[in-house]
Amino acid sequence: MQLKPIALNVLVVLSLIIASCQEKKSLPFLGPKDTHLIDGKVDTIYHQIPPFRFLNQDSTWVSEKDLSGKIYVADFFFTSCPTICPKMKTQLLRIYERYASNDQIRILSHSIDPTFDTPIVLKQYAERLQVKAPRWNMLTGDKAAIYKLGEKSYMVTAQEDKNEAGGFVHSGAFILVDKNRHVRGIYDGTQETEVNHLIEDIEILLQEK
């Protein structure tokens, strides 16, 4: 009985050593996980972005079906944001330019001020940023739906706050989503070094079948 925990410890340490020897080749699945039994085997159900439907800057509906088989980076912003959004957009531009000719990569920027950020406002913003859908979709729609998706699915904060500059509080996170809409990484979109990691991780995802 005494040996068991020790043996377990040894096993854990050994597996850690082995794991650390291997190159970093896979990304974690983030968010709540669920398990169920299929034919007597335990199967893990990973957190998945649920179906959604929003209007983009071209007044075209964008849903999860349009992201089928795509790797994408999601963020939350608003066009009149005076604080971190410009920094985030500067960093997202790096990703946009880097994958300019890669049809597998998409960017989804959700407005958290959809009342002001109508498709026309988003269109003007996108044009001034010199970016285009579908590679970079700027999305607007039902405010409650956007906030719920942000908090429950992308695991970031997004809410109105009259005390904040610009009237909204939101995180500067970039969320990396794989081809099956699983969240595989969350990064600080205001930091260049963090976005370097994001790009490295996109490269890893591109290798996944």
Binding site: P82, K87, T90, Y125, R128
Partner: protein, 135 residues
């Protein structure tokens, strides 16, 4: 012995710079950190702006067209409506920087002039007077 040598070197070096020169350098250093905190998000650290969304500050005709008085008011009160920089029109809005006081603005403007303008100090007194004259 070494420390005496060091101190005398420092004194010698410092005496080469006039009081005005030292103050100018201080303003530029302080101004840079104010710029990074309040301006660089949009206008970028090097003043390049961001595409057609936020106008550049570096290498622009802005420094010939806009005088210090106008610049101070734009910094303090923000900018709404169309503004032309290098012939290009920008229509986004710039938020007011109500928290910046006269000394901050003097340092900030000196930093900007040092990088992109006439490299002359913008004094605290000038900033204070300009702030009073804003509409």
């Amino acid at each position: 012995m070494k420390s005496i040598l060091f101190i005398s070197l420092v004194v010698l070096f410092a005496s080469c710079q006039s009081k005005e020169e030292i103050m100018y350098q201080q303003y530029v250093v302080e101004g840079r950190s104010i710029y990074e905190k309040n301006c660089a998000n949009c206008h970028q650290s090097n003043g390049s702006g961001l595409r057609d969304l936020y106008p550049a500050l570096a290498k622009t005709d802005l420094w010939k067209r806009v005088n210090a008085q106008q610049l101070v008011c734009i910094i303090k009160q923000g900018q709404k409506g169309e503004i032309k920089v290098n012939g290009k029109s920008y229509s986004g809005y710039m938020p007011a920087n109500t928290k910046l006081e006269a000394i901050d603005i003097a340092e900030l403007v000196t930093f900007m002039k040092d990088n992109w303008g006439d490299k002359k100090i913008y004094t605290f007194d000038e900033a204070r007077t300009a702030l009073k004259n804003c509409p």
